[in-house]
Structures are given as C-alpha cells and as structure tokens.
Symmetry: D2
Subunit: 389 residues, 4 copies
Amino acid sequence: MVGGGPGAFIGAVHRMAAALDGSYELVAGAFSSDVSKSRQTGEELALDPGRVYETFRDMASAEASRDDGIDVAVIVTPNHLHYPAARAFLEAGIHVICDKPLVTTTDDADALCALASQRGLVFAVTYNYTGYPMVKEARDRIRAGELGELRKVVVEYSQGWLRTLLEAEGQKQAEWRGDPNRAGLSSALGDIGTHAYNLLHYVTGLEARRLFADLGTVVEGRAMEDDATVLLDLDGDVRGVMIVSQIATGERNHLRLRVYGSEKALDWCQEDPNRLRILAPDGAETVLFRGGEVGGAADAATRLPGGHPEGFIEAFANIYRGAAEAIRRNSSTFGGCSDPGEGDPRAVDFPTVEDGMLGVYFVHRAIQSSLAERWIDMNDGSAKPDTTA
Amino acid sequence: MVGGGPGAFIGAVHRMAAALDGSYELVAGAFSSDVSKSRQTGEELALDPGRVYETFRDMASAEASRDDGIDVAVIVTPNHLHYPAARAFLEAGIHVICDKPLVTTTDDADALCALASQRGLVFAVTYNYTGYPMVKEARDRIRAGELGELRKVVVEYSQGWLRTLLEAEGQKQAEWRGDPNRAGLSSALGDIGTHAYNLLHYVTGLEARRLFADLGTVVEGRAMEDDATVLLDLDGDVRGVMIVSQIATGERNHLRLRVYGSEKALDWCQEDPNRLRILAPDGAETVLFRGGEVGGAADAATRLPGGHPEGFIEAFANIYRGAAEAIRRNSSTFGGCSDPGEGDPRAVDFPTVEDGMLGVYFVHRAIQSSLAERWIDMNDGSAKPDTTA
Amino acid sequence: MVGGGPGAFIGAVHRMAAALDGSYELVAGAFSSDVSKSRQTGEELALDPGRVYETFRDMASAEASRDDGIDVAVIVTPNHLHYPAARAFLEAGIHVICDKPLVTTTDDADALCALASQRGLVFAVTYNYTGYPMVKEARDRIRAGELGELRKVVVEYSQGWLRTLLEAEGQKQAEWRGDPNRAGLSSALGDIGTHAYNLLHYVTGLEARRLFADLGTVVEGRAMEDDATVLLDLDGDVRGVMIVSQIATGERNHLRLRVYGSEKALDWCQEDPNRLRILAPDGAETVLFRGGEVGGAADAATRLPGGHPEGFIEAFANIYRGAAEAIRRNSSTFGGCSDPGEGDPRAVDFPTVEDGMLGVYFVHRAIQSSLAERWIDMNDGSAKPDTTA
Amino acid sequence: MVGGGPGAFIGAVHRMAAALDGSYELVAGAFSSDVSKSRQTGEELALDPGRVYETFRDMASAEASRDDGIDVAVIVTPNHLHYPAARAFLEAGIHVICDKPLVTTTDDADALCALASQRGLVFAVTYNYTGYPMVKEARDRIRAGELGELRKVVVEYSQGWLRTLLEAEGQKQAEWRGDPNRAGLSSALGDIGTHAYNLLHYVTGLEARRLFADLGTVVEGRAMEDDATVLLDLDGDVRGVMIVSQIATGERNHLRLRVYGSEKALDWCQEDPNRLRILAPDGAETVLFRGGEVGGAADAATRLPGGHPEGFIEAFANIYRGAAEAIRRNSSTFGGCSDPGEGDPRAVDFPTVEDGMLGVYFVHRAIQSSLAERWIDMNDGSAKPDTTA
C-alpha cells in the first residue's frame, strides 16, 4: 500500500475492503512521505519492518525483486502522486489498484492506460460506488432493455462538508483536496463528479459527446470550485444533467442516479444502497431489494440474504474481489484496458484504468466549458486546461 | 367562470377550492367556446341559464351591469385566451382569478399588470403550490434567517405523462397544451416551469439575474419542448438549477425544492406536502409537519391538526381564501400589484398578476437562451421570442 | 347539524366535507347545549335564525313538519348524546349521519340499528378512514384474491396528544373525551380503537370471534384507558394484533394497517394516504398511487390525477358523497342496515349503523377481557360492562 | 469454529465479521458433524488439516493442550449443540463466542452462566443487532434521560421466509430451525424473538416482570410456532408489545424498536440501520445519522463517516471487536457474567452469556403463557416447558 498513513481516511477503507473476503494480505507499504509516520503505520499493522519503505520507488523495485514480492500495489495517496506511483509499479510488472481520480492531466491518463495495456497488467480504479449490487442490477436491467430507449439521466452528488473553509482549519482531508498542487485542477468535479460520471457511464453504458458546465466557488477563499452543474449531451441524444456540490449544507454523501427511458425509469441512491426503485408509466413504483428477487451480477456481488443491509465497505470489497479474480485468471492475457478473458465476466466486473481516463477527460472538458461559457465537444482538446496549468 | 366546461381538469379543481371555505358562490359562466357545452355545464352546476353566456365578453358586460353581478371572474381557459378574458373583466371593473401561465407574451403580461394596478382590482394567479402551508413555513424560516446566507437552490418539476405523443391521440389536456397557438411558445416551461420558478421565488424571495437554458424535444413529432434544464444566476450570487420534464417516465407530479444556506438547508416535495425537511450541517435532519409545531403563516393556511393530511385542493383553496379576503378589504385601495393594505398580511398571501408576469418573462428568456446557446440577462429583450412568433 | 359549536374540531370538518362536492346545504342546527353559543355559530354560518334550535328534539320535530325541512341530520356531539339525538331524527323520519363511536352501550347500538332498518332510513357513521381511495383499493385487491389466503393482520392507531393530563387543563377535546359520562366507558378504544377495528373489518371483511385485551392507564389521574393492545382471533383463523395509544409521544395520527396473506401482503398508512404498498414474497415492494394505475372503487373515490395529493377532507367527503347518493336512490327502499338497492354499489360505499354497532361491541368485549385477563368470545355478553356502569 | 460447514449461512458471516478489523485469525475448526464436509471447509479456508477436528470435544482438548492453541472458540452449530460445545470449551479454559439462542433449556442456560463466571472466561453471544451504532445511540439517549420516564415499548421482528413449509423442501436453514430436536421448543421466538427481546433489553435496560403470549402455527404441517405476539409487563410499569413472525409474507428482516417516553420517543429499524428517529411531542421528528452528529458509543462502533452506509457485517464485527478487547484485557479478571474491568467500558460493550440466559427464560415463559392462556411471572417456573419436553 502506498499512502494510507496516520490521519488518512481512505487507506483504512481499502484495508477493510481487502480483508473482507480473505483474498488479500497486506505485507508491504510506503504509507507516508514522512518516514516515521510510515513506520508507525507499519507497526500498527504488524508488518515486517523491512518491507516498510521510504518511497514508492524503493518499494516497487524491492518488491519486484523478491520471490515473495507483492502481486498488487494499492495507491491511496493524494491525487498528484497517483501518476508516478502507478507508473513505478506498472513498470516493475506489478498490478495496480488506484484510488480515483486516476491522475490530474489527460496526458497522464493516456499514458497510464497505454502502459497498463502494453504490460498486460490489471489496473483497477476504485470507483467504489459501482461495486454496489443494486447498481449492477440497474445496469443489467438497462442492458436487457427494460427501460426502453433511454432519454434522460439525472445524476447528483451533493455533500456539505466543505460549507466552511475547512482547508484553512488544518483538516487533513480538506487540506490536500483543496490544494491544486495535490488535488489537480478541480475539487468538486475531481473528487466526486468523477464518481457521478463513472456511475452514469457504468449503468447506462453512455458517454458524453458534448457538455456545458458551470463551475462555481461558493466559499470565499477557496482555490477551486466547490459546486458545479454540468449539462451532458450523451450518446444517442440522451439528455443528461449532473449536479455536484461540496457546499450543500446538511447533505452527507448524497449520490443519486435516475435514468428515464421510454418505458420505465430507475432511481438509485447511495445512502440507501440496498434498494433500487423502478418507476412505471402509470405511476406505480417497484422497489427491489438486494439479496431478494434480483439475480445475475447483483447476486454475485452480494454476501447476505435480503433484509440484512450491506454498505460501503462491502461495495468497495467487490472491487477488490473482482481485481483479485482478474489477477488470478492470468494477468498476462488480461489487461485493465482489454477484455476480461475467459470465465464468468461478472467476476471481473470492476472499473479499470480506462474508466479512470474517462473521468480525467470529463473533468478537463468541464473546466474548459465553464471558462468559455459554451458547450464543448469531448474530443475538443483546444486550450486543454491541464497543459496551461 | 370562464372555461372549465366538459373534459376540463382544472375547472373542477377551481370549483372545489372555491367551495371548501364557503366564501364563493358560482353564479355565472362562459364555460366553453361551444355554447351547447357551456349550457350543459351550466345545467350540471344548477346555474340560472340566463347567466350562462356565449362569450366572456358578453359575460363581462352583462355581469357588470347587474346589481348582483359577480365580484370576481375565474379564468380557466387554455392559455391563449387568458389575456383577452382577463382584460375584459378588468375593464368591466371585475376582480380576476386567473390560471397560470398568465399570458403568452411579455407585452401582454406588462399590459395586464398595468391595467390591474390602474383599476385597483385584485388579480390572483393560481400558482397553487405556494398555497401549501409548509411552503409558507419554508419561506418564513428563510426570512427569519434560519438557513444563514443562501447559496444554492435546486428546483425540479418532473412529470411523465407526455412520454408518448399524447396530443396526437386526442387527449384534451395534452392537445391544447401541445399546440403553440393555444399554449404559447412553450410547453414544459410554460406549463410547469413557471410553477417551479414561482415556488423558488416565493420561498427564497430571489429572482434570476441571468439564465442559461437547454430546452429539448424528446418525443418525436412534438411541436414544443418537453424537457428543459435551466441554470439560474440568482440575486446575491445564489446558484440555481431547475430541472423540468414532461417525459420523465413514471414521475407523477414531482415538484421539489431544495434551498441550501450557509447554516442549514431545506427540502420540500409536493407529493409529500405535509412535511418539510430541515438539514443541519452535522447531517441530522428535522422533519416538520403541518398542523404540528409550525406557526405563523403555515398555521393560518391550515385547516386540520397534525397527522390529518391536507392536499392539493386545500392548498388551492388557500389562494381562493386569500383573494376573497383581499376583495373584502376594499378593492378600491388594494390592487394585485400593490401592497396588501391594512390588517394581517398573511390573510392576503397569494400570487398576483406580478408573479404571473415574472413567469412569462422567465419562459421567454429561457427560450432565447436555449436558441442562442448562451447566458441571457433577464432584462435583455433583444430578439424577444414572443415578438417574432 | 347537531353539535359542532365554538371550539369543536370535528364539526368544521363535517361542514367542509359536505361542501366539497356541492351535494349538501347546511340550513338548520342545534350547535351547542348552550343556546347563545348555538346562535353564535348559526350567525357565523349565515343560517336563518329561525332554524337554529335550542335542542335536537326541537330541531327534529320542527324540521320534520316543514315542507322544506332537512333531509338528513348530522350528529357531531360528544358521544353520550349520539343515541338520543339519532333516535329523535330517525323517529322523525330524517336520515342520519353520525360521528363515531356510534353510542356508548351495546343495547343502544342494537336499538339504533333496528330503528334505522325498520324506518328504511339511511344511517351513515363517519368512520372516515375507509373513505380513502387506497383503502378501497386494498379491500378490492383482497376481495380479488391477490393476497391469497389471509393469515395475519396488524393494525395500529397511535397518537401522542394525551401524553399529559390534558383533560385537567381545560382543553375542550380532551375534556369530554376523558369524561366517562360523556365519552362512554372507554377513551382510547372508543375514540380511535373503533376506527382501527372498522378499518380492519372494511379492508379484510373479517370480524373477530374472540379477543384478548390489555387496557392501561398510563397518565396518572386519568379516568379511562389511554393505551391498549388487543389480540384478535379473526374469522378463518386469521391472527390479528391491534395496538392503540393516546400516549405515544410524538405520534400524530398514526393509523396503519398491514395484512399478510399466503401470497402477498399490503400496508397502508393514514399519514401517507395516497400510497398503498404491496409486498411480494421475494421481498420486492410495489407502491401504488391514488389517481394512477388503480381502478374501480379507488378511482370512483378520487377527484384528482396522480401526484396531486388528496387528504383527510377528501376521504371524509367520500362518506358524505356516498350517503347523498343513497338518499337520492330512494330512502324508502334502502336502510342503513340493508342492501344498497340498485345501481352502482360503489356510489353508496360508506359505513353504516351496523358498522357503528360492531365498534360498540368491540369496545365492550375488550373491556371485559382486560378486566378478566382472559380471552372473551365476541358473543359472550356476560357481565356486560355497559350494564354495570 | 464449530459448525459453519457447507450450506451454513451464519458461519460465513462470523468469518467476515471476525476478519474485518484484523483481530482474529481462524486456525482450527470442527465445521460439520460429517467429517468429510468439515475437511472440505477446512481446505477452502486453507487451514492446517491437523487442526480440522472430527468433533468439538476433540477440538477443545487438542487445542487446549497446544502452546499456540486457540484463544476463543466460535460456536455456530444448530441450537441443540450450543450447550455441549460451549461447556467443552469453557471447561478447557477457552473463551467462547456463541450464536443465539444460547441454549434450549433454562437449566442449561443457568449452568453455562455459572460456568463462565466461575472460570472467569469471556462468553459473548452474538445478538448482533445490538452491535449497530444507532442502537447504542438509542440506549445512550435513554440512559441520559432524553425520553423522560419510559412508558411503552413496541418491538417487532417480522420475516416472511417461512410462509411455505420450506423445511419440508430440504432447505437446510429451515430444516434444522423447524426441527424441535435441533432448534429447541420454539421456532419464531427462539430464532428471532430472542433478538427482539435482547434489543429491547439492551436499549431500555428493562426486563419483563410478567408476560402474556399468544403463539400460533400458521403453516400447516409445521412442528413449532411461526408467529407470536407477546404482551410484556416491564420493570417500572412500562407497557411492552412484541410482534414476531416468520410468515409475514414480503417482510425480509424487519426488526424495529420503538420506545415512547413521557418527553420523547425513538424509533429504529434494522433494515435502515444508519438512521435513528427521535419524535418530539409537537410532532416534529429528528433523524440522526451514524457517523454524523452522534457521539460516544455510537462513534466508537463506527468505521466510516456519515453518508457512507454501514450494515449487518459491521454491526456483527462490533461484537467480535468487543470480545477481542475483553479477552485482551485479561480474561482471568473478567468473566462474561461480571463487570468489564478497567478501561473504557464501551470497548467491551457486547452481549454476554447472561443476555443469552435471559433470552432462554423469555422463550420458556412465553411458551408457558401461551399454553395456559394467562399472564405468567418471569420467575414462575411451574410446569417449565423445558422439563416436560
């Protein structure tokens, strides 16, 4: 594990997600840029001190040369380190599980995608919300045509934790996320808008052709946007709206997706993840529950019977489970950017480096659009914000 | 009553709303452009046949010349007749209660507003959703500063009833609403977007300075837009998003308003109108119930104790009750566009011709913006869509 | 109208319910035992002072002898006056609409039932909750066999308004309801338990064969029970549980019915009356909405399209509408205790004096059981509590 | 681990719960009475084959004699084996974590309680629902007096999975639970009623003094009760109602607790476990969320920030975490039946053998009451059903 030292939130989540199904063992780490903190975390986790490294580069080379070296590196650092760390492990022939957003520039995204593909290595990006069983059920019902022709998508990710200038108060999470040098060009879109975009893409299979974005910085003194609305012109003339906020006071972690088709609609909300609402034209609603009547991919991603709630960690663990299975199936014939190889594809149903790349492009086009106050084509790289930063 | 003949939906609602509190008696009408239908409705309502008129002009002049002539005319025709009918009654010195949208051009809106003011007549526009007690409670809490500085408003009005080309199947409601000659330039925005804008304005006190709109026609063969997203730049740098749809399959009448302030947020939904959700920064929610702990305007607009649900008709009746009180207080010193005169202002808390006018401007600027694909100032009348129609 | 003077709650509800559909006109009354209060109410309602009476007996005889005398008397007094008032009007040949509980002894219940039947008069009892459209839908689905064989019923009616000794503080509603001389032998069961029992009976068609009741007086100083649980052994071995409380702090008017069958279950809650939940064995839920996909009796009891909430007054008005239709159909051939005569029976779908009688028996058997601490047969009249009072 | 072989549900849950926080390592087992199945499970879990035992007795003696023997035995067999297995490990000086219900007779319950206390060993019983953070919050708010004087408790545990005679169809879970020789005298009360009783006891601190129970067997051919209602006379004159069902078609795992006090009430539901509803007398509701504004024990039992749902496994893992901490604090001075020793008592907040014993008594008194059709004192052991079985 790279990152995830004292004070980190997501590192502990990754460790619990990895432990849940017994497929992973944590044996090495470079947990912090501060080596004493790194050692402290290593001790707390009862690691061999010889496998607690000063830098991810040391870790990549040392582990690559061990017979019992790690199979996979987990990267949970602030965003700006994702690129060099992922590169180092890929080049050392080690599979990668990386937090999102993948990287901070579209060039880096392209590069990682190419590298993973070329080396034939598994590269999972923890867009963890697509690990929820009822998200898989939503996707499968759309694929099966239950909604008819898709027409409109509304996706919202609202949080309220940045309603004050928290980054100025020394809160570690807010601090690096609010610093363009560590988080990248975007705060709200990068941190949570990419989740929303990935969720939309995963469930509907659609990508944006054009977008119109309006980014705003509501809290005075903040360096990046903390609120955004993005209009999406999706494949097949599907109309999309994305609402993203970090200053929506009182909202906790309100990620919600609605998809309207010509025949039916569906509605899923991350804060109530065990349910999926299906709306019929006559106004009746059907609420489906994980562990109950649903099947296929949703069942495969489920550990408990209906009425026994599963949550965030279980969804996260599904990403880990999928990556483990992909690695097991022979990494040499399966790359993160390519097809899942043989066997039940559901078992390797997890977001890859390509999904990470799409998120990076999405953020950059949105920034372009907001600056220009006009619709931008997704393949319009003119005045790329990342090359001018 | 003008309009509201056989097959009309809203006419019956107006009649029930007027009856509920015993302040109105229906004595005259011109219910349909088809005089035999008009007479049929008159009979069903047990009216004096001598007061069932062929046209609203006949009705205005005849009733104005009777000693026991009507005090107030209710206009529930298709949109394109609102203007001439309202004008006729105002000129005859008769108060007006008119359905929304007020009229179909900004010029007509200005003219009616001026006329009502000049004659000192009451002119209510039945933006009925602001008649709900918990909407009044929301407004009063914002006025009292409970939310802190306002920051973001999300308003949505989604319906699914036009997911097919219903207007081609002879459905009376869909037919005239889908005909630009009768409905005006807009379908979704005119019919329901104006409600959403009025609700936003009523609760927050804010108006839009600029807007960016994206109107779409999803169902093939439809003459006007059936889906729209509007970004709003509101007074005081408050960010606004409006989502409007008539093709959101499975949605019934989903009007929802969320207002985020620096201290708290609130959330109200028309399909669950007896509740108002208040969100606190720490993530706790308080749900307030009509008839319970709330006071002031909400209480004054309430007929039943907590736990005894009130609905659409009761909210509608509150508009009627307010207009009745305004008429009672002496119409000569109180015009729809001016101040409420003496006494408890809550009793005359209802939308006026000015609110109607704001809605007409909103629709026209949104159409301009969508055509131009750019932000439009609200006072930018260049290329007014209504003058070019 | 008898009763419903100043300070009364339910009188105003009856008046709004009667006004809503235009079938009733209020022309006479004996609104209070205090004649000056009665006159005050008469003036407020703009009645002919000559038709405001000192007593219901005066009213019955005077109105019966007028050519334009009332068709129907509405009785909304405290419970102990229901019997003599209803008797007086029935004997004068006038139809009756009476609030619940019908009367305070089983003998009086039997007597009124016999009298209404013998005179062939309409006698409605305002168990208003069965007026809700989705309650009718629930009944119709059970009748159609959708739930399979019925197995278990859970009905709950919880309120919190009597969590303090409100009757000692001069609150008018609490005062008479808490006085055995005016309310009868029971408080919680009589006031709200009868509603719960009627709802259960209406929806399932079942009656109790035996019951075990546990009545309790939680608030010190109270004369009657304010909390009760009743186990019901229903027809066909269906198991029933009723929970009733007036001291359930924070509950407003929480009347909820669940019916479990061998194939499906249903769930309806009065505080959310426009929805009906259907539960399937696999754990999926379908939520049906009034005004939407439902038909038959629910549609006939509906005034607005889906998404436009209806509430308590509309449900109440459905009782009035049904009674009006029954009176119209010729009272001489239709008695409250007999069959609905010709025409669409849905139009005369309202609770009658027989339903009122069942409620009175239910209360008395529950009191017997609680005193004896044992199961009691419904037809076991030994030690009738009402004859010993 | 004893039990938890192929086809078992709860064994896998125990393993995930133990793994989540990294405090446990599974090293030995007797997973099935069929030794080949036991070996198969051992292989799947990659255990040393030498530590996969034929019987729990072998396991207890062999592990007790190893230097690196197990610290704690997890017992997840059918109910009838809980007693001998727990006894074997306690006598071998090994701590125990046992599934519920503890045992099938009150004598065995007393015996285990005495034995654990005498040996000073930790004995956790996995009443897992009390591991939920918001259950702890509920308890702490009651302890702090927020609800005022407690008055009424309604607890319900409804499931629908046994609506058919599943035990006759070879479903493994239904089979042993429906067999009195393996499950004990009771099905619904033993399997889920004990959870409900423990939840009530944990949150309110109250025990029943008397109870009246009505047990029923709804599905023909079933050997034990599948539905029950129990009236509880709780300490301090608090009135209690428990509704339990395994034939409530469509219910998944509906465990819900409501507690009404003189000042406020609270409401928690296992299928929505991250929320806790607080009801105020004026009808307002406050919804508290795990990970948000709550503190103390709820926070200590939480792994994620607000808006990131936790579920069943996390609650289960809290029992494991507490037991691990208790074992760590020196088993020689802390027995399951005694006080938690030094340090933060929250860390060892888990159900013990005493809680298990209370559940066994509750079930037996309920059976007595139902047979006798009368109220039974909790300390009335006459005609103990377990001695006559």
